[in-house]
Symmetry: C2
Subunit: 164 residues, 2 copies
Amino acid sequence: MATSTRVDSVSIPSVSELPHWQEVRAPHGLGYRIRLMAQLMSRLFQEKLDPYDLTPFHWVVLCCLWEQDGQATSHICEKLKQVGGTLTGVIDRMEERNLVRRERDPHDRRIWRIWLTETGRELETVLPPLALEVREVAFAGITEAEQKLVSDVVDRAIANLAHP
Amino acid sequence: MATSTRVDSVSIPSVSELPHWQEVRAPHGLGYRIRLMAQLMSRLFQEKLDPYDLTPFHWVVLCCLWEQDGQATSHICEKLKQVGGTLTGVIDRMEERNLVRRERDPHDRRIWRIWLTETGRELETVLPPLALEVREVAFAGITEAEQKLVSDVVDRAIANLAHP
DNA sequence: CCTAAATACTACGCACTCTAATCATCTCTA
DNA sequence: TAGAGATGATTAGAGTGCGTAGTATTTAGG
């Protein structure tokens, strides 16, 4: 512990004393591997969505709207922690595919509310099982206790990163 | 456990009996949250890389080359589990920034080998501490035992997804 | 040898992602 | 009640990321 530095209440070890599993360099670093895991899940999910001409992002927006229809664009951004500019393009393409439609809020004309079409609503019976399939592949052989702990750690990490 | 289905050796519960923490729908689903965690880490890392006009992907390729210089494009793809077409563009931009240069393999002229420039090599003393900073923010307050378990689960998930 | 298949990479089109700049609308205050 | 500032959303431009198709180059089979 000769070369540690103490900042606030967090002990930061020097790189040389990090054990192997927490080396920061890609592709061994945990950061890269978490990113890769998410990427591989996306690839698999995309395969399952291909027949419907949808993308994983469309799924995510649909989930928001199934929970509550007619949300403002900014509400969806907030819920998903996505950047506004990104959503504009995604919703454009969802509108082209007739999954949603935009409508101005009558009380505040700055706000555009996003509403499900019949097509968009009907997908609620089709898509969740596909998402579950991806989950089952990814977490095969991983116990519920382990999944619970990962879920917990992920939530804390997101909170750490939300306002660093 | 009335509505479970048994397929091979994996028990697949129906959606209705899933506990809250493993609901599949975004943004509550673990899949989305893992993706979000990776995304937030990337955003923070990008901020730290801005002064150097680099991106997280450049970091990743540099890590590969620091480990072994002069690798074939396909070796880098394999190590990073990335798609070939993606690497072409990234390496183009790295070449423009004078981080690497391409050279044909004299024994097999189909192969392009990627070599670090002096600039690319010198960044090895600068960038790893930045990556470590991101890690420290993300995993603040998370014990080493918890990190070890997450690392472990992530590896198993990647293996599950590699050839599904 | 000489052609067919395999290999390494590039080109292109579409989709996502980010930042910064812009536009429209609303709100608050002098 | 004008005008300044805040807010909601879009646009523009660069950089991933993926699949498909295409170009060299090498290897293998006859």
